[in-house]
């Protein structure tokens, strides 16, 4: 069907014109080349004009669909946004911005493999683009691919950002810190946070956020310092006061913590967590014999803590399985029983070193029972905190 002999073909077949062409070329070859060149240039310009019109038409349509996509993206209608960006890309194939927006829509739709294909292609075109590196980092972070995620997060931190680069880089670094903390790589997170902390702008919310991240590391010193910087800008910010109180509490600076927590509660009395912390801040010094230099009160406090720890140990041995208690708690119980026979106010007064031995055993008991029988309550919990403060754990 496709091939039918056209009558035209029969009449217009070329004759073998070697003699004719011989003369023809001899005379006209340069002229033919000039004419062909002129026709080529004219044709080129004509197609150039058409191309310009065509491109303008395509750009108009692409912009129309891209604007629609942006609106859908902002409204959270990611499927419609992806469709609009795909349409825009049919008119502006390879457009960097549209492809990036499409990739972002696809990420939001959890179509990560498709998004990844676009993003890898975009990255190959502009490896220094911050948004692309960040999106890639997020995809690899979601996949749990730490090495790739770190690579792209770092790329994004040092990448080129079209607007407000410092804020963008800071935001990426904070996102990286959260990712590192989520993946229990606290040392790396701390290094990143220290780098952020050096150049953090004067902004209460940001400083509070960084302080919170230091708390997660945990680096209570730097967290407290960051909260204190935030409080310089907002003295009566109850949230920051409460957070500073908690940081000071974790550092064992109970007096400092008490001051912040009291201020926080005076502004926001219904903050139960701060109230609880404040209560502990006030109770811990009363249980810590090292707050008192010498005297009967100190010895009695040692004896009281010793008894408290002994009761906790007994209860824990009775509640836990025999195997566990035999291996870890029994030796402590033997030590406790041995010391119990020797420990009284007189022996404490005679042998000042016995205070340390007794308190060391108390702290060991609280630590071991914490591991075996779970987090203690009441005075046992306070003793555990005191143990941590004194032993740096």
């Amino acid at each position: 069907m496709s091939e039918e002999r056209d009558p035209e073909l029969a009449t217009e077949l070329p004759a073998n014109g070697s003699d004719r062409t011989l003369n023809w070329y001899s005379a006209r070859e340069p002229l033919v080349i000039i004419v062909l060149s002129a026709v080529t240039i004219a044709f080129f310009f004509a197609v150039g004009g058409l191309s310009h019109l065509y491109r303008r038409e395509l750009e108009t349509r692409a912009a129309l669909w891209s604007n629609r996509g942006e609106k859908e993206l902002q409204s959270g209608r990611f499927s419609d946004a992806a469709s609009a960006f795909q349409t825009a890309l049919t008119y502006s194939r390879g457009n960097y911005t549209y492809e990036l927006s499409l990739a972002q829509s696809l990420v939001a739709l959890n179509r990560t493999e498709e998004a990844l294909a676009y993003l890898v292609s975009l990255w190959q075109r502009q490896p220094e683009n911050g948004s692309v590196n960040l999106e890639l980092a997020r995809i690899f972070a979601d996949k749990g691919d730490i090495s790739h995620a770190l690579r792209y997060y770092h790329n994004a931190i040092y990448a080129v950002w079209s607007s407000n680069p410092e804020a963008q880089q800071l935001a990426v670094r904070l996102e990286l810190v959260k990712f590192l903390l989520d993946h229990k790589t606290n040392n790396l997170a701390e290094s990143e946070l220290i780098a952020v902390g050096r150049n953090v702008p004067e902004n209460t919310a940001l400083q509070t956020q960084i302080g919170d991240l230091f708390m997660r590391v945990p680096d209570y010193d730097r967290a407290l310092a960051m909260y204190q910087r935030a409080l310089k800008l907002a003295h009566h910010n109850t949230d920051v006061l409460a957070r500073a109180g908690k940081a000071a509490f974790e550092l064992g600076q109970y007096h400092v913590a008490e001051r912040y927590l009291t201020s926080a509660l005076s502004l926001k009395p219904d903050d139960d967590q701060s109230a609880e912390l404040l209560k502990m801040c006030r109770s811990i010094p009363a249980l810590d014999p090292y707050n008192l230099y010498t005297g009967i009160k100190r010895d009695r406090l040692v004896l009281s803590d010793f008894d408290t720890a002994g009761q906790r140990l007994n209860a824990c041995i009775n509640s836990s399985s025999k195997g566990t208690s035999a291996s870890t708690l029994q030796p402590l119980y033997v030590q406790w029983m041995d010391m119990k026979t020797r420990l009284n106010e007189r022996t404490l007064r005679k042998d000042p070193g016995l205070t340390d031995s007794a308190m060391n055993l108390v702290f060991n008991i609280e630590r071991e029972t914490d591991k075996t029988c779970g987090v203690p309550t009441g005075n046992d919990f306070l003793l555990l905190l005191i143990a941590r403060n004194h032993e740096g754990s």
């Binding site: 217009e12 070329p14 004719r20 011989l22 033919v32 058409l50 179509r111």
Partner: protein, 591 residues
Amino acid sequence: MAEPQLENAELGNALPVNHSSTSRSLLRFVFREERFFLVLSVFIGIFSGLSVVCFRFAIDLSRMYFLGSETAASHMRLLLAPTLAGLAIGALVLHVFPLARGSGVNQTKAALYIYNGYIPFRTAIGKFITAALSIGSGHSLGPEDPSLQIGAGLASALGRKLHLSRDRMRLIAPVGAAAGLAAAFNAPISAVLFVIEEVIGRWSAAILGSVVLSAVSSVVVMRWFLGSEPLFRIPPVELVRPGELIAYAVLGIAGGFASIIFSGGIGTMRPILKRMPRWTQYFQPAVAGLIIGFIAIMGAPQVMGAGYDFIDQAIHNQFTWSFLGILVGLKILATIVSFVSGTPGGMFAPTLFIGAMLGAFVAGLEHLVFPHLAISTGTYAMVGMGVLFAGFLRAPMTSVFMVLEVSGNYTIILPVIVANTFAYVISRALQPTPIFDLLTRQDGLDLPSMEEQREQSILRVEDAMRPVSGPVLDAEQTLERTIEKLNGVQSENLLVRKRPTGWNTITMEELKKMLSEGKGDSRLKSVLPIRQIPYLHPDHPLDIAMRYIYRYPILPVVSRADVSKLEGAISKEDVLKSYHELGDSLDETED
């Protein structure tokens, strides 16, 4: 006797050394036309590139106006656009552009072999308009084959305007075809290979340079206007284990069978539609459009048009494996109805589409069966494109280089070769006639089949030569001594060895005559009637022997390592006997 200075038959094509002024001017003309043809090839490439750029604009604009600017067109548009465009196309190809039907590859081949390179310019215009309408409105056809014909049409028109000789006119259409295809594909190597493999059918130094120049020029122009981005976003290709090649072989087998279904469908349906009354041809493209529109509104609008965007999506794993399988079937159906209805448009893009979907489908299936294997859908889709190219279009070389060029990754070559070989072998075994040859035969034309030519058994000199029965004479000996040695020898034609490497021949009768004339003391070399004769090597095609054998009763067949070492001799009778035996064996095969 003025003999040309011929020695080795390979040099036998060289022009005779004749110092007449006519020969000199003829020689100058040949070189001048050769050079001009190369320059012209660049212009053809540029014109074809510009035309293909316009063709692409036309297709895109046609698509925008027919199917709307959004990616998901309304059902009304999906149904009406290809149907109404089909009606217009039916009228146009029946009344205005009758030669614009079909893909364009065979028409270009016909121009080369039948019409001395003549393609009416009107056909190129018609192809441009009708193919833009059909592809833009959603008919399941591609722009590559029409681009090939547009390029060939332009080149032919230019050649006519410049009064090129008949030989050049025959070559100019393939030069334009390569330019058109290269611009459409954005792949110059594949275009050159395809034109040589499918249109010209032989590697010829005379045309290779022109084809390459035109293809490269057209791609440069196309990239100038449309950018140099590849057709698809290519994912990283990795062949982790050699064992994966087995999986690609499975894809090759699937591709071979899909090719059979595809070409079988076209081969069966086309004659049926051709036999229908002429008035139905007005409506055949419209009915095809209606069927495609129906497929689209049923949930597979991906089958409409060339489908490159969807190939890209398949490469990036954006379809479920079951939907990919459905797309393979529906695209085959849509392309068959589009093509057999006579709608102008090409089969390259649909072939790539079907191949990509099939590749991704096989990858999906293998992933389902062997979930532990790291199967890359993108790689399978790309290999699948090559598989269909090898199985359906039966262009094995082009299929390999096309995937290489599109992917830009050498790692893919092994999977492509393995899969393509399986597809090609299966397709050849079950469908002996390639699709392009099938179409030409259905049209009543008898164009040379490139596949048959490739696989033709060639007779060589070694098949016809015989051992030298008589003595080989030494040209340095005297005539008297030579005749003494020949006492009792029956051979009529005798070979003479000339030191150091030449050969000659003389008959017993001539020797005796010279002896009776009193030349007994003369050396044989001084009395030989001709200076020397050409010699052959055993591996020479027998056709070369045919060029000389009518002038010399016997020719020496000598070793390539030492041309003074005689391997045998060949005479006219030996050559004819060989051809006779070949003819008998072919008759037996056909019976």
